[in-house]
Amino acid sequence: MRFAWTDEQLAFAEATRDLLAKECPPAVVRAAGDAPPGGLDRTVWEGLDAMGVLGVAAPDAVGGLGLDETTLVPLLEEAGRVALPHPLVDTAAVAAPLGAAAGGRLVPTDLGGPLVACAADADAFLLWHPPPAPSTPTAIPASTPTANATSRPGMFCTPSDPGDGSCTTFGEGDGQRGALYLVEAGAVTVTPVATVDRGRRAGRVAWSAGDGELVNDDPAVLTLAADRGVLGTAAVLCGLAGTMLDLTVAYVGERRQFGVPIGSFQAVKHHLADALVRLEFARPAVARGAWSSAHPEQVAPLVRQRDVSMAKALAIDAAEACGRAALQCHGAIGYTVESDLHLFLKRSWALARSWGDRGFHTDRVGRALEALDAPAPDAPSPDTATPVAQEDP
């Protein structure tokens, strides 16, 4: 039993933090929201790629680092801390680790290149390799069957750049469920949509699955990939929460009213202490979600699902508590786009309801608990064959 990141993991996160601090200050996030189609600056993305962050969890056979979620999650929390406007969860957590599960064809062979992948808001996602290879296939796992699925547009994505065609997203399937398709990029249409978080550069997607080729329909593979999106989003939310708290602590230490720093008022202290509690108890849950995801040989899929959903649920709480406390303690200045706070606040609203909202994940945890209870209604014996992680964290 040792519940802590390794020194290597911490060092990687710190290096990532240094890069992001330099290349992704709030000005870059603002610029991402304001940039016209095709105009997104890629400096930080290329820096992350050069550091190997995009391919951390890609198999080393294809040039990735072959590491797992316990290395990736701290990096994603760092991305959250700066509200990175690029689709890092989608790329590094969802797309890259799929590897051979996607028939070997989805894994970019040149991780140094402009791999962009994206997923959001659905049990369907799409991976896509952008120009200069315009005919590179796009992968889309089909989603819930609905009467009008093929003509129904998909939901938002977090494209790196909807304008120049390098956007990726998820779409809805052709009536088949839980299958990974390859679709020609040209068959996908992305229409930017206006969301509260302009830095996400979200788009609505329409595509015709008729153009697709089935490459994998193993539900276990697809659930695992989606769970990585959930876990990654939870990590990003913790990062956002941490920054909102830090910004506020700095502000209330400086801002004076009634002759004293407002941070000396008990009401302000207690708001922020309550927010800190939420964050400090969410982070271990996210870390455990990483461990459970990284150890399929010891952790049953149902336990992993429970753990990543719990991570998301508590990370949502943390982001909500930190966001509300931050805005209230900033007062009017926080209620403007002149303060940087709004960049993190709006991202946290969007991500709280992406990849499943609070109610969804609560229900998922509860159902997993009931399913885990079912085989042995009395307390499980310690020497059972049940994976250890099922009864102990």
Partner: protein
């Protein structure tokens, strides 16, 4: 106790409702579609057309005397009008800060010349008033105002800066507090001044609220000379040096019932209930066409997101027809529907919020009864402000949870959510209100 409206009041309501229905449709048609936000330059112009329409038929300030463009309506009728106004979905009043914040002070402290000269043009939306109280270093601590007013021959010279001035970039006049006694501290030595924004030396810079709209402004005063006759009847409201007392009367209005009438929240509560009912109904079709509801339920481990599509009680809310709405399947049609259906977590939150809105209505009727009996509104306004501001956040939080991943789309709900978050901050933060309630209503000792 009598909780019925008189025939006259009923007739007043009927007239208001009919007028609003007809005129809203006409106004919207004139805008060529849904008007833009009143906190943008384009939208403000559109909203002025609405304001002038209200004024033309004497609905701009119903409780004012007829000679100022009102109807001499009672507070009861004002409540009815507000209820109808919000029920009809009529737009936010861009003239609000003049009509609801400055005017009550004018009625209490203004000279007849000021009242006669200022109020009709305010009602007509010809003069557009913004509030100049907050400063970069005077927010919750309003008494630390440092903008200066120096008395000179024939007028005042202003220096300093105001900020967080709502719609300042689009207004014509500002009412504000200035330190007129240079040696004074805190509440003393402040003067309440009425200032045309086109005064030389006054610069207005609009900036973005949380939602990005240019709803705020900074107002800079650089040796700006305001002649005594810059507004009819004179630029000082009340006595020079007694501005704090005048301002506090306005603060009472802002926190109390005149700024945020119950009708606003009742209307939102009904819309939230309708939205939640939509979600409860919408999922039915999507789920009932899915063939694997039972599978997903029996085996939570199976499938990609088995529990997304199962959901308890999936069978018992069927009936709604037509294609599913644009909700993402990730939101969990089955789950969201159960949560939004009768007795579900989201449904209960909507009912709860409705009760809180209704309680605000009842509390207001109680307050108006007291005012009608000649009592004065007091520190109770702090309780009211705590109640409606927290209620408004919860109403919109329920709506966002009902919308699920759609919640981040720009639209009335995301806009309303962002606006609701300002409630616990403006008009005196809720922390300040709790201090006031504890000290003045409960009598707890000051620190």
């Amino acid at each position: 106790m009598d909780l019925t409206w008189s025939d006259d009041e009923q007739a007043f309501r009927t007239e208001a409702r009919a007028w609003l229905e007809a005129n809203l449709a006409e106004w919207r048609a004139g805008c060529g579609g849904e008007p833009a936000s009143g906190d943008t330059r384009t939208g403000f112009a559109q909203h002025l057309l609405w304001e002038r329409r209200l004024f033309a038929d004497r609905w701009a300030a119903v409780s004012w005397p007829e000679r100022y463009g009102g109807r001499g309506a009672s507070l009861w009728e004002w409540l009815l009008f507000e209820e109808e106004y919000h029920r009809a979905g009529a737009p936010p009043r861009v003239t609000q800060n003049g009509i609801f914040l400055l005017a009550p002070s004018l009625f209490e402290f203004g000279t007849p010349d000021q009242q006669d000269g200022i109020l009709p043009r305010m009602a007509a939306a010809e003069d557009l008033w913004c509030q100049g109280w907050s400063e970069p270093d005077a927010g919750s601590d309003l008494a630390s105002v440092s903008s200066r007013a120096r008395r000179v021959d024939g007028g005042w010279v202003l220096d300093g800066q105001k900020t967080w001035t709502t719609r300042g970039a689009f207004c014509t006049h500002l009412f504000g507090l200035f330190r007129s006694d240079p040696g004074s501290e805190r509440h003393r030595g402040l003067t309440y001044l009425l200032v045309p924004l086109d005064t030389p030396g006054v610069t207005v810079r609009g900036f973005g609220r949380l939602d990005g709209d240019e709803g705020f402004a900074e107002v800079f005063f650089d040796e700006a000379f305001v002649p005594d006759d810059a507004v009819p009847g004179g630029v000082v409201l009340g006595e020079p040096g007694a501005g704090w007392r005048v301002a506090m009367a306005t603060a009472g209005s802002e926190r109390g019932l005149t700024l945020r009438s119950p009708g606003r929240f009742l209307a939102t509560a009904e819309r939230v209930r309708a939205l939640v009912a939509d979600v409860a109904g919408a999922g039915a079709t999507a789920t009932s066409t899915g063939e694997d509801v039972e599978t997903g339920r029996a085996d939570p481990a199976g499938g990609v997101w088995p529990d997304v599509r199962s959901g308890t009680g999936a069978e018992d809310h069927g009936g709604a027809a037509g294609p599913a709405t644009g909700s993402s399947p990730f939101a969990g049609d089955g789950r969201a529907r159960v949560s939004a259906g009768p007795g579900g977590p989201l449904w209960r939150r909507a009912v709860d919020a409705w009760m809180r809105a209704e309680a605000y209505q009842l509390h207001t009727l109680q307050t108006v009864t007291r005012l009608a009996a000649g009592e004065k509104a007091g520190a109770e306004a702090s309780l009211t402000k705590l109640w409606w501001s927290e209620l408004d956040v919860e109403l919109h939080a329920v709506a966002l949870d009902a919308l699920g991943p759609d919640a981040e789309l720009e639209g009335p709900w995301s806009k309303g959510w962002q606006f609701s978050l300002s409630g616990p901050i403006y008009a005196g933060t809720n922390e300040i209100q709790r201090n006031i309630a504890a000290e003045r209503l409960l009598g707890l000792p000051r620190a």
